[in-house]
Symmetry: C2
DNA sequence: CAGTGGTCTAGACCACCAG
DNA sequence: TGGTGGTCTAGACCACTGA
């Protein structure tokens, strides 16, 4: 019982058992280390992960407190559509229905922080699972940030995956939402107009340079799961 | 430059700069420690957080590798509706439109792992932001797991918050989805039937005991944001 | 079986900040 | 200003597993 994983569990048990009231100060690292007969470093490690998990709050000098209302967090793996599909045992195929090089419309230039009329690549892709559409993707790519994209075939790998391979370690922002299918979505996905589609909206950049903005519309019934 | 935060950044820089190809083995902890002139422990800490972030993959004996396709993760704070609303400066009020104690229907008993016909509390709540509906909540509560719930007023705090205060340190599972508004949703939220609603579906338990299952339907236009 | 990462320890110094 | 958490160090042992 002297490794930080089991100590974490043990301390979590004491918290959930109500040993320290929400908002109350817990014993200091030094005291817990004495109590468990281990090094302070080990306690420190356990408490740090508990703090990351949102169960406790720590401040120098003020000590460690049990959070009044623990922060509820969920970690999601932002899905790579190909993987999602192949994990079900189905065959993945991307089907590009639009591929157009054009000067960026204003709303796209703004999103990608580009000067007006920079060239972008606009793509529509339907992601097929055993030939059946799972998701429709509307993507805008900053050509300057990914020049090779113009020659990519997208027969087996999608634009997303192509970009991921080119600039694997970019950062981004994500948001989830719901939208009614318009004509285009409906025909791409083979569903009725107005159907509720789960959407993932994502902007990606590397350093100062914006790479792509994409919105993915999932077939009705899709859900994204996570642990809490 | 000898603390694990800056070391993490520095190593991340080298990864994103392409110093080690995706899939390639990175130098061992010992070598990096020599190179940076610090203790192996410090390098270890930095690499462990990089592994948590999904940028690298580590195996004993096999060493540390740069991930081919980094895992894209997003951490979301599962919103407490009251906080969401109050953060916008609006006044929060929950409005309970249904509150019924009954034997659990089969699909609820199954979800909450209850013996058939256990008593549950069924609640419908509309979450109001300055009097305007933001979300509709359909909740089932295992009465045995939260007996005091029967007397709770829910005038100012919602059932969710009440439960959170009673059993703050429970765990759970979450999933996100989209649904078309049915009659009930539509009238509760004051939107057209068929509107696309973003939904959060959550099951909560403490140890072996299931506490509640809830589904929240957000007004059209709502989106849940996160960093990547 | 040898080298990797995982972890613990004891001691140390420091930054912070409530009393 | 003293006690808290944050971190580093050097050394140690262990678990795992690929060559």
């Amino acid at each position: 019982m002297h490794n930080h994983h089991s100590l974490k569990k043990e301390i979590m048990r004491r918290i959930t058992a109500g040993e320290w009231a929400p908002g109350a100060v817990m014993p200091s690292e030094t005291k817990l280390a004495e109590e468990y007969g281990c090094a302070r470093t080990t306690i420190n490690r356990a408490l740090q992960t508990l703090a990351e998990d949102g169960l406790i709050e720590r401040k120098r000098r003020a000590g460690t407190r049990v959070r009044e209302l623990p922060v509820r967090q969920a970690k999601f793996n932002i899905p790579l559509v190909r993987r999602e599909i192949e994990q079900t045992g189905a065959v993945y195929r991307p089907h590009v229905t639009l591929r157009k090089r054009l000067p960026a419309p204003n709303h796209i230039a703004a999103r990608l922080h580009l000067p007006p009329d920079s060239e972008v690549l606009h793509l529509h892709t339907v992601h097929l699972s055993d030939g059946r559409p799972l998701a429709f993707e509307d993507r805008w790519i900053n050509i300057e940030a990914a020049p090779g994209i113009l020659d990519a075939p997208f027969k087996e790998i999608s634009a997303n995956e192509w970009l991921l391979r080119q600039t694997p370690y970019s950062s981004g922002s994500v948001s989830f939402s719901a939208e009614n299918a318009n004509e285009a979505h409906a025909s791409a996905l083979g569903v009725a107009k107005g159907a509720a589609l789960f959407t993932i909206d994502r902007t990606t950049w590397l350093g100062e340079r914006y790479i792509t903005w994409v919105k993915i519309f999932y077939r009705p019934g899709y859900s994204l799961k996570s642990g809490l």
